[in-house]
């Protein structure tokens, strides 16, 4: 019995991989992401120079790329390549944790609205509409500046403002799911709402939740970079967003410090793009609305 179950899982994973492989963009995204995760896991080993505030090369401030410093140095004489190698971890973590909050709130609201219907649905969808109409970035700015700028608050602020899309997609899915015969029959034999949601609805919408979440991680990383740029980032930690913010802050644009301002933006774009590629590949497999096309 147990063995069959494992075999069944293995088969569905293989089948999923067969479908995923079809998407060239999905594969490119996956390998880009794996590269960044690898680098972010061992920055201490991979970075050629230390990145402490006092560990810069005082004789070589803001030097353009050279054979010694491949991407040049910053205003403290630190190697920019080393800073970027260290910076991925925080950017990835912020994106990941913020997305967990988004997935949690979005799932909770979307599933409750879709499943219970009536007044509950009306109320929850009204709430979603309110969050949808309030411009996201200004809301994030206001909340971050009121709560204070640090790692934890950035995650919270991005999480609280970004769940509307997930909630809408899940509501639509649950609406059609709850009319399915197997849900009807489960209800007929007297299963409680909680049991139906946890054991029958959630497992069925899980792939959709994951696909939505992967798409949101990229957006969350972008939001984090924007907040950092606005001076609402965590200045105690090294991240790509903060690096970009410092690069702007010391006037890299007006002094043509291209080596300082281009690379962190490229890193952010690539990581966001990798999540977007993976997300679209996943969405194409699990979202029935798109699959029909």
């Amino acid at each position: 019995m147990q063995k069959n179950k494992i075999k069944g899982y293995a088969r569905s994973i293989r089948k999923f991989w067969e479908q995923y492989k079809e998407s060239k963009l999905g594969i490119i995204g996956l390998f880009t992401l794996l590269f960044f995760i690898l680098v972010s896991t061992f920055p201490e080993v991979l970075a050629p120079y230390p990145v402490g505030v006092l560990q810069g090369d005082r004789k070589n401030l803001l030097q353009p790329p050279s054979s010694k410093y491949l991407l040049g140095t910053d205003e403290l004489g630190r190697d920019i390549l080393s800073i970027l190698i260290h910076g991925g971890r925080i950017s990835l973590l912020i994106g990941l944790f913020a997305t967990l909050i988004i997935a949690f709130i979005g799932t909770f609201i979307g599933v409750s609205a879709g499943y219970f219907g009536g007044k509950t649905e009306e109320l929850l969808m009204r709430l979603t509409d309110v969050f949808l109409v309030i411009p996201g970035l200004p809301l994030m700015i206001v909340m971050a500046s009121l709560l204070g700028a640090n790692f934890f608050n950035m995650i919270l602020v991005i999480g609280i403002t970004g769940w509307t899309g997930t909630a809408r997609v899940l509501r639509a899915q649950v609406l059609s799911l709850k009319e399915m015969p197997f849900i009807e029959s489960t209800r007929a034999i007297g299963a409680s709402d909680a049991r139906i949601i946890v054991w029958h609805i959630l497992p069925n919408v899980l792939p959709l939740i994951v696909a939505q979440a992967v798409l949101r991680i990229g957006g969350s990383i972008l939001s984090a970079a924007t907040l950092s740029f606005l001076g609402l980032g965590d200045s105690t930690k090294i991240s790509w967003g903060m690096t970009l913010s410092y690069a702007f802050g010391i006037g890299s644009i007006f002094n043509d410090y291209y080596w300082y301002i281009i690379p962190p933006g490229v890193c952010i774009t690539l990581i966001v793009l990798s999540f977007t590629f993976i997300g679209y590949a996943l969405d194409g497999i699990v979202n029935p609305r798109i699959r029909e096309r």
């Binding site: 411009p135 990229g218 924007t226 970009l244 007006f254 043509d256 301002i261 281009i262 774009t269």
Partner: protein
């Protein structure tokens, strides 16, 4: 249901939304840990001055009275006094609105024209190399921080090539002979931020226009038109674009509400003297009355844009008009 009823229904909806937004705005700035007085009244004052203002602003009253007072003051156009400028927030925000509207609308026109044109080509040549390269560029654009792309444009075109001015809305202290030279000066300053924001927003817009045009290309009447041997150009302009007007207009109007908040970082990069730059400065200076007032005005504008979108949609779509 007639169009009049739709307008009334939507208007009631919008008014409810405005109240919810005002309520959120009131509580957001009071639920902050710490004394709300510190948020409303400058920390540099003496104890007595603070006490006086404490009573003047009604902060000694219970929360629900404060709330009612807040709503009443907002309706009178009183959004408080800035700590930094020592001037009414309402004036500070509204004198910066025209610059923001100019930037938003002009950049949005760029976004719309390019997205519709590219979306049309992509949908027409669906699955071709061109379509796929457009999709990849669209996704890349969508994955870039807009302020970063704006910064690179500024660095290349203004700093390196010297083609455009570096900051501001117009050349300072320049005396203009006539209105035309003034307009020319503003246009010259506007060009780069407009392009940066306009191109930055294409990423999101292109996919929506492409998808809604794809829906139309897959309709039976297009297949019929093709099988009748009509010219591509005829099909494109007579059948596709005509039928695309409704979904496209809706999208264009709805997205307008979304981009309202998006100009903040572009205004910062180009030192464009709009509401976004004001928000940034008030964050830096912890000028909470300005932050609160600007946020309220932006949100109400978004509600209003949404309302207009719904009305126009109701007017254009006979299915809704004659429901």
């Amino acid at each position: 249901m007639g169009i009049g009823k739709i307008i009334i229904k939507r208007a009631v909806n919008a008014i409810i939304l405005v109240f919810i937004v005002m309520t959120i705005n009131f509580f957001l700035f009071r639920l902050v840990p710490g004394n709300p007085v510190l948020m409303i009244i400058s920390p540099d004052m003496t104890m007595e001055a603070r006490q006086t203002l404490f009573i003047k602003y009604g902060l000694d009253k219970p929360l629900h009275i404060q709330y009612i007072n807040y709503i009443r003051e907002v309706f009178k156009g009183n959004l408080g006094i800035s700590f930094v400028y020592n001037r009414p927030v309402f004036d500070l925000v509204f004198e910066r609105v025209p610059a923001t509207i100019l930037l938003l609308l002009s950049s949005y026109i760029i976004t719309v024209i390019l997205s519709v044109a590219l979306g049309l080509v992509a949908a027409w040549k669906r699955g071709s190399k061109f379509d796929i390269s457009l999709i990849v560029s669209g996704l890349s654009l969508h994955s870039m921080p807009t302020f970063w792309m704006g910064g690179l444009l500024l660095m290349y075109f203004s700093v390196n090539l010297g083609l455009f001015p570096i900051t501001g809305l117009s050349t300072p202290w320049l005396v203009h002979e006539n209105v035309y030279s003034y307009i020319k000066d503003i246009a010259y300053h506007l060009f780069l931020p407009m392009m940066a924001l306009g191109i930055g927003n294409i990423g999101g817009m292109f996919f929506i226009t492409r998808n809604s045009l794809l829906d139309i290309f897959s309709e039976d009447y297009i297949t019929t038109a093709k099988s009748l041997g009509l010219k591509d150009k005829t099909i494109l302009f007579h059948n596709v674009l005509r039928n695309a007007m409704l979904p496209l207009t809706t999208i264009i109007l709805i997205r307008l509400g979304f981009i309202i908040g998006g100009a903040v970082t572009t205004e910062m990069v180009f030192t464009w003297p709009g509401v976004g730059l004001l928000i940034y400065w008030s964050v830096l200076a912890q000028d909470y009355p300005v932050l609160q007032g600007a946020f309220l005005i932006i949100t109400i504008t978004a509600v209003f844009a949404n309302f207009i979108a719904e009305i126009v949609y109701g007017y254009l779509d006979p299915r809704i008009r004659y429901e």
